[in-house]
Symmetry: C2
Subunit: 673 residues, 2 copies
């Protein structure tokens, strides 16, 4: 999509009153002060402002206008857009509020229709505008931010504004900023697609309350994350958060677990706060890729080094001591008082040359380095900063020069040398760990195409268990041997064919939680027990009794659950978790937007806290994790192959040393309410 | 202990060269600039500096000197101390390094002996000095910090210095600062004891690498935390961190889990970074106690409100919507566009009066409030700050005014009004949650006295299981019925007395992991099986066979582990965890320094992630948690009653609906190595 008329307009008109204090005049002031020239004012009186010409109608401007910024009352917006369309304007930013966010859906629908009719692309309404620093373009009410390599797309105008105001003090500069407000036309995915190809943006940050279209978001985010880092703040993790989002944007936020899965699946990076976003952006902008997890810490003070090492290990970096060869190399030139484990503590004897030497030497073995300097008030930190800068290699070095006035003079040296400085060593290593994670994920997203529909499954509502088992068996899924018996004699015959011991399960209309009704009898190991089990189950079923499902007993194995359901935002979703009561308590389940390949399924399994149990805890061998991945991948395609499947719940699935077996299947079809 | 000579000296001498650039001159400069008057210089030439008189010996000063600050070479320190002792000096700060931290233990022992002989209390050696702002006393090389209500005790001089330098920009002021370096005499516990009674210190912060004495630390920290908040940064959480601490301080840091337990047990608050320490200190200094977890968020922007609500729920605050009555009250006066759920979003229409009204109204129902303001560049935030300040009640209000220049003018209004402002809403709610936790813990520490020794247990090394069971039974612990059988006939007799089904366990010299050797046979339910089980076990035992322990089978129950061992720093420690392979993978174990009462034991159990399983997951009823607490409390006294117990490992313990039963016991006595 061509968004150049929006981000690089040949001319720009601001529609709205230019009386002092009115939004129109604030906007024009910002645009002029930002350095953009071809700006025009449009208002009923044709008043100009601060030397720029005023017009009564967009059509009166006899120079090219690609973008109109609308701040006139909500009731006038549709006619302004018509005027713009007739004047050949191709894009509009609607600052004006008073549309769907206050229930005026009709008004919003109208402006979208008008825009579509004239081929105008809209940002907003109810938004804070955009910024393109490389084009000196600032049609926004918010603080004009410093220029840089970070693009920031925000669903919330106010939060976007706060970020712009905050950026300067944080050393973050922006390429583009977009607040898209209600997102009536252009929205999250459009800007992600545009920014993917924007050479000015090295990192893209997104503040999201809800996505417009889950699947398109996943696609756009994945494509972008292959090219450059995508950092996402998704609000509404908590119950109260979701409620607030709801009242604020007029749209339902999807379950957070699914967002979490989609962001991860796209190879994007989720952060919880604006400070993390700033830190991480600075890392990505200034540092080369972090191509591994081995971190060396070089410090002149023990305590801060240890705190950084603690946090580094918590976030998955490896802070191993140097090998003997490297240690020998270091010992040759470093002061004897230095500690040569990791953190490498140069003590107060660490000067410019010691920092340079230690950092460049350790980077022959480690993947990244952190330079910590704690400057006492009486020591000049500038030589140390120069030492760090001159060590700069093709591997990343982050710095933590602490703190306040004693190091203030050293910070510009680091900045000019391209070394990002962080407030604490802990924050620095968090950035390095996230950057390492990004490299690991990159290019692995490996999207899988949804299967073509192959038909409908007969029936509606919840399938009876024998029907579910038969269906799964027909489709090649691993189910145990099973037969439906309608009489005790049939049950005995079935047991003989299957071979004792068997399990017997009640099949009855509308009985779903069999086990809670005593509807499952395990370990039936002879004819007498089988007959009695049949009669017991028949009694339990009462009027609704249909039969008894005789199933071969599954020996050993670890219980997992595999499921698939439809999320309102993202459509089919697939889930895997550890089964049994432990999972219910620990909620150890991992999700993905379906479909997925076996590689992605392996990553899902790897995210489970109890993964070690599947890999074989003490006394139990490893299980067939590849088999489980295959099952997950197959299940993830089911709703595409059979569009009338509403839900699949395979729980438990027995994960064996070799193979997997579905112990119980609940399949829900559309219809049948 | 009287530390007044140290913190409020009538006179102070600096021993060391006063040549330009030497540490002695830097120290004297700091002390003079800080405003302290009665300072003297002592050096071989009797040189003065910046107008203060110089002397060749401490004994030549004919005015009272309570404190000597020593910066002369390490080899001279002992004789300086002798001189000081003869001159009647009562305390010394030894800045000089070159003692135990570089292996010179002998030198350190010598100065401690000299000091003891003369009744001088020492800070250091190898330290950065102290600060007492209320006495204008700054004998330190570090930045002189602003005065305030926070005391900071740091094992690391450099980290302490960084904190002092950083404090000003963070709005934190200090009452006292101590860097105690090697802690040869005065150390962590002494300063905690002193600060507990120091009226100038409202909050105490401690940076710790290792404690001097685990039990004394626990006592001092507990006593302090009853009076005022104690915030602890403990370095060395990670493997690499511990290694670095080791090489840095020359002392072995205890396992982090035990530190974690002791800090929690003391009612202190552990934080992971200096930023958290600053945030939390400001909360405690400026806000009244947070006496509950219900939080109201009042904002003028949706996004930041939601992010704060998300984080609030993650850290255990409750962000419920207001009740109908309160909603009605709010609706009467707030602009109709406001969202009256929680966060309460006043939108851009929220002005001074709206903030004041909303905050004071919600605090009738909620325990604390957060006021968020996101100021667009064109809006004056000062009235909003005044609104927040005038709402100030006896319940805590924290603020997050975002960000940068647009809100800079509002921050002094908040500060003067006693409202702490935080960089993000997320950081503000983390502080409120920690403060709520402190109130919940306060006064609950309920220390239990160690039992008096009652004797020695006979034997040494690992007790054989029957002996362990017999011992436990004699002491009143719940063990299943058991008998040792040395022949198959004895095994049958025992089984008859106990009643089938029974379990049979191999008893053999030096065989510890019975289950891995096939040394346990469960569900023996008849004579034939019993005889065969005996023979199998006898075969497995071979030469080392002693007998077979016949034990009544335990039906149902949930497996937990209960243990006790000696930590090198803290002495006897007690542990509880969920048993089985899940625990091994999830490492879900909770620790306490022994002994503990049943209340503390209940809190330990409450910390387990799998606590819900004990409380009764679906399909399983609740278990006897009070019984388990009793067992934990009893086990925690065992090493005090029987000082020759080295280790106790009860695993599994079966937690039943009523009662607990010890399934296996491994008891290790001292000696026998």
């Amino acid at each position: 999509m061509d968004l150049r008329p929006l981000f690089e307009p040949r001319g720009l008109a601001v529609v709205g009153s230019v009386k002092p204090g009115k939004i129109g005049s604030v906007l024009i002031g910002q645009i002029i002060d930002g350095g953009y020239k071809n700006v025009y004012a449009v208002n009923p009186n044709g008043e100009g402002f601060r030397g720029i010409p005023g017009f009564k109608s967009l059509r009166d401007i006899e120079r090219p206008v690609d973008l109109v910024v609308i701040a006139s009352p909500a009731s006038t917006v549709a006619s302004v857009l018509k005027d713009a369309g007739r004047a050949g304007v191709r894009s509009a930013i609607i600052i004006t509020a008073g549309f769907s966010e206050v229930g005026n859906r009709e008004g919003e629908r109208e402006i979208v229709e008008v825009a579509k009719r004239y081929g105008i692309r809209l940002v907003g309404p109810n938004c804070a505008g955009i910024v393109n620093t490389s084009f000196s373009l600032y049609p926004t009410l918010e603080t004009r931010p410093p220029a840089g390599k970070v693009a920031f797309v925000s669903q919330s105008g106010a939060l976007g504004g706060a970020v712009l105001s905050w950026a300067e003090g944080q050393g973050v500069g922006f390429s583009k900023f977009v607040s898209y407000g209600n997102g009536a036309d252009l929205t999250d995915v459009d800007f992600l697609d545009y920014l993917r190809d924007d050479p000015d943006s090295r990192v893209v940050c997104l503040y999201l309350e809800t996505v417009s279209d889950g699947r398109r978001f996943l696609e756009s985010a994945s494509r972008l994350a292959e090219e450059k880092p995508l950092i996402v703040i998704k609000a509404g993790r908590s119950a109260s958060g979701r409620r607030a989002t709801l009242s604020h944007t007029g749209s339902l936020a999807g379950e957070d677990a699914i967002y979490e899965a989609a962001i991860r699946q796209a190879g994007a990076i989720r952060v919880g706060s604006i400070e993390e976003m700033f830190d991480l952006s600075r890392g990505f902008v200034h540092l080369p890729p972090v191509k591994g997890r081995r971190l060396a810490i070089v410090t002149n003070s023990g305590g801060p080094g240890v705190l950084a090492a603690d946090r580094a290990e918590e976030v998955g970096l490896i802070v191993d001591p140097p090998g003997d060869r490297l240690k020998g190399e270091l010992a040759e030139k470093l002061p004897p008082i230095s500690s040569l484990s990791n953190p490498i503590d140069l003590t107060v004897e660490g000067g410019e040359e010691e920092y340079r030497f230690a950092l460049s030497t350790v980077l022959s073995e480690y993947d990244s380095a952190l330079a910590i300097n704690v400057s006492p008030a009486y020591l000049d930190p500038r030589p140390l900063a120069r030492g760090v800068v001159s060590a700069k290699a093709d591997k990343p070095i982050a710095a933590c020069f602490m703190a306040g006035r004693p190091v203030a003079f050293a910070l510009p040296i680091l900045e000019e040398g391209g070394i990002p400085n962080f407030a604490t060593g802990e924050r620095a290593v968090e950035v390095l760990a996230r950057m390492a994670g990004y490299e690991e994920m990159r290019g692995r997203a490996g999207s899988v195409r949804p299967a073509e529909p192959v038909g409908e499954i007969e029936g509606e509502g919840v399938l009876l268990e024998p029907d579910g088992f038969d269906l799964l068996e027909r489709l090649g899924f691993p189910v145990p041997r099973h037969e439906l018996a309608r009489s005790a004699d049939q049950a005995l015959d079935a047991s003989h064919r299957i071979g004792y011991p068997v399990a017997m399960k009640l099949v009855a209309e509308g009985v779903i939680h069999k086990s809670e009704l005593g509807g499952v009898i395990l370990g039936v190991d002879g004819d007498r027990k089988a007959r009695r089990a049949f009669e017991d189950l028949k009694g339990a079923g009462g009027d609704r009794f249909i039969g008894v499902l005789v199933v071969s007993m599954i020996e050993g194995g670890i219980e997992v659950l595999v499921g698939s359901f439809r999320d309102p935002k993202f459509g089919p979703v697939v889930a895997v978790g550890l089964g049994g009561i432990y999972t219910e308590i620990l909620a150890d389940v991992s999700f993905r937007v379906a479909p997925i390949g076996e590689g992605e399924a392996l990553r899902m399994i790897g995210e489970l806290e109890g993964e070690g149990i599947l890999r074989g805890a003490r006394g139990k061998g490893p299980t067939d994790i590849p088999g489980l991945s295959r099952l997950l991948s197959d299940v993830s395609q089911m709703m595409f192959k059979y569009p009338n499947i509403e839900e699949m719940d395979l729980n438990p699935v027995f994960l064996l040393k070799e193979g997997v077996l579905i112990g119980d299947a609940r399949i829900v079809l559309k219809g049948g309410g």
